[in-house]
């Protein structure tokens, strides 16, 4: 037994250990495409070595890093149905890391760990009407779910998307929204808090859209992704539509440093949002004193 211990080494300086890898070591991936979406958001297409499939679920995230700058959790924007050799991330410039990421161009390498966490359970959603209510940047992870449903359209019931942005300039994926509006198998309503002269759509916070849709509460799941201030009110609307807390899914934003349930930052009560979340049912969230 003692023989399996490596011989005495007096130095305490870092060294390699038996060629083992580390859960904290990112895979080096390459950006293959990058484009500006709005003044604050850019979309990046990322390729893992050998074009390996990310194998994620809608709602899961990856840890994106630039050595020397840092690492942050970013939701996967592309749906599993559209993920082959590459996947997409939509990144808002919010600080140090995301600021440097915005300067990257195709050919540049970044670090990727993951996918991590519990995404949305597609097997539960199948056969049901889906009401998705993203706010702001929440549209990026919502895209993963919506595109997945559109690509497997016959497996789901109605698809209703209620999207709120602060102002017209912050609306994400305008071309895609236009395309969705042209389809008869998706009901899309978009609103902005602060319109400008060009805006002819709905005005007001996202909750104002709810009276405009009819749903069958017995066969619908509601999904909301956005900042806490927004999902609190959206949940009230969903409850008002007759959904019960187990039919409502949400995604928590929490600070995360490890992504693997160790560092403590994303803790909500006794659970780790990076492991048991970031997707939670409202029923689960209600059981947490801390969550809402």
């Amino acid at each position: 037994m003692l023989g399996t211990m490596t011989p005495l080494e007096t130095t305490t300086t870092p060294r390699k250990y038996n060629g083992t890898s580390s859960i904290y070591l990112p895979t080096v991936a390459t950006i293959t495409n990058a484009y500006t979406e709005t003044a604050m958001e850019k979309v990046f297409t990322v390729r893992l070595p050998g074009g390996e499939n990310l194998n994620h679920n809608p709602g899961q995230f990856v840890m994106v890093s630039i050595p020397g700058v840092g690492e942050a959790p970013i939701s996967v924007m592309s749906s599993p149905s559209r993920t082959g050799e590459t996947f997409d991330l939509c990144i808002r410039k919010a600080g140090d890391l995301t600021g440097v990421l915005h300067d990257l161009v195709p050919g540049d390498q970044i670090g990727i760990r993951g996918p991590f966490g519990r995404g949305f359970p597609l097997e539960v959603f199948k056969g049901k009407d889906i009401l998705v209510a993203p706010g702001g940047l929440g549209m990026a992870p919502a895209r993963s779910l919506i595109d997945e449903i559109l690509d497997n359209r016959d497996q789901y019931g109605r698809l209703i998307v209620l999207y709120g942005a602060r102002n017209p300039a912050e609306i994400l994926f305008r071309d895609t929204l236009r395309e969705w509006r042209g389809r008869d198998d998706i009901d899309l309503l978009v609103t902005v808090d602060h319109p400008d002269e060009s805006w002819v759509g709905h005005i007001g916070v996202i909750t104002r859209l709810f009276p405009r849709v009819q749903i069958n509460p017995f066969n619908t799941v509601g999904i909301t992704i956005g900042p806490p201030i927004m999902y609190r009110f959206v949940i009230i609307e969903m409850l008002g539509k007759g959904l019960n807390p187990t039919q409502i899914w949400m995604s928590f934003e929490r600070r995360m440093k490890c992504g693997v349930g160790k560092c403590g930052h994303c803790q909500v009560n006794h659970r780790y949002s990076c492991q048991d979340g970031p997707a939670w049912t409202y029923a689960e969230a209600l059981a947490f004193e801390e969550a809402l």
Binding site: M1, L2, M5, T6, P7, L8, E9, T10, T12, P14, R15, K16, Y17, N18, T20, S21, S22, I23, Y24, L25, P26, V28, S65, I66, P67, G68, V69, G70, E71, R92, A94, G95, T98, L104, V105, G107, D108, Q109, I110, G111, P227, P228, I229, E253, R254, R255, K257, C258, V260, G261, K262, C263, G264, H265, Q267, N269, H270, Q275, E289, E290
Partner: protein
């Protein structure tokens, strides 16, 4: 598993022999108290120490630890390139001498946190090379400890060897095969006789009355006490006093939360990704982009710390997150204490607790 005896005067010989093949660390006297440090001379090892300022957690989770080295560069096409190489720091055969039973409880929690779910290879690499030699506490460290309340007065099964001082000898229990082998190879030991074992039981039963209870409730009641008291006014009172300095979490043998930071060398190309001890008592701990802070007030942060100690960690790992070592009480400049707080919650709710239960 098996009980052996080592005459006290044989201890330095045992230590010296171990030092030939292992890094040996243990409690030594310093200017400010006792601390775990490398044992350079066998006589430095003080097994009858009261407590150390820091627990032995630094050997399991260094305060600053390199996770990997990186090299960034620009290739001939002008694209950013990344090279990485994992680093496993402080991995060497190490014997930690003289670990108190409360601190062993902390180590058993770390083992669960870092080895269950995703395996933390950095922790594992070090852990595999560490042997723990515990020491039975025969009297309380000082007035700040409340190990009896927390049920940490007996050793949890993480030790390789566990020593109890009985008159002129140590009785040593082996907790693992490695421990057994260590004794056979390096120690001048004999199997304990029935007389030795009788003396040991006498020593152990004599120790209990020396420890006192400080909690007005039993530890089994802590999860429910904290659940009921989530909205207690006590948290606001503590929030007004707390300095949010993080000393309490730094010295705690069960705190393990960390931050991850990149350090960049002066050439702006090479560096290390490191993890560093972090504290949920600091303002930035739960802050996210857009400025939203999930625990903005000091009251909510100190409550979180207590919730973890007495409830959350227990829910996940089936061990309470406090060992009763008393270090946070000794470290806190404004005298915020675990027993004082739990008793205040108890009084606030006038919970029907049985103060005599332990």
């Amino acid at each position: 598993m098996t009980l052996y005896i080592l005459p006290k005067e044989q201890l330095p010989v045992f230590v010296d022999k171990l030092k030939a093949d292992f890094r040996v660390v243990g409690p030594v006297k310093t200017e400010t108290g006792f601390a775990f440090d490398d044992i350079k001379q066998a006589e430095q090892l003080k097994l009858d120490y009261p407590t150390t300022i820091l627990p032995p957690k630094k050997y399991f989770l260094p305060q600053r630890e390199v996770l990997f080295n990186y090299h960034t560069s620009i290739n001939e096409k002008g694209a950013r390139q990344i090279d990485t190489e994992p680093v496993f720091q402080d991995v060497q055969p190490t014997i930690i001498f003289g670990v108190h039973t409360c601190d062993m409880t902390g180590i058993s929690l770390y083992d669960k946190v870092f080895l269950e779910g995703f395996k933390d290879e950095h922790y594992l690499a070090r852990r595999e090379q560490i042997l723990i030699i515990g020491i039975e506490c025969l009297k309380p460290c000082d007035d700040a400890s409340f190990c009896k309340d927390m049920g940490t007065l007996t050793a949890p099964p993480v030790y390789d060897l566990h020593m109890t001082e009985v008159e002129s000898r140590y009785l040593i229990d082996t907790g693992s095969e490695k421990g057994e082998e260590l004794l056979q190879k390096y120690g001048e030991v004999k199997l304990a006789t029935t007389d030795d074992i009788r003396d040991l039981s006498r020593t152990l039963s004599a120790k209990w009355p020396r420890f006192r209870h400080r909690l007005k409730m039993s530890r089994d009641q802590l999860p429910s006490l904290l659940t009921i008291n989530y909205g207690a006014i006590t948290w606001d009172h503590l929030g007004e006093r707390c300095l949010a300095c993080g000393s309490c979490t730094n010295v705690c043998p069960t705190c393990f939360c960390f931050d991850v930071q990149d350090e960049l060398d002066i050439n702006m190309q090479d560096g290390q990704r490191t993890r560093l001890w972090d504290s949920c008592q600091l303002h930035e701990f739960a802050l996210v982009a857009g400025g939203h802070n999930f625990r903005e007030s000091k009251a909510s942060r100190i409550r979180h710390r207590f919730m973890r100690k007495g409830k959350y960690i227990h829910q996940v790992h089936d061990i309470l997150g406090c060992t009763g070592c008393g270090r946070c009480e000794r470290a806190c400049l404004v005298n915020i204490t675990i027993p004082g707080t739990l008793n205040a919650l108890h009084d606030e709710m006038q919970l029907d607790a049985n103060p005599a239960a332990g």
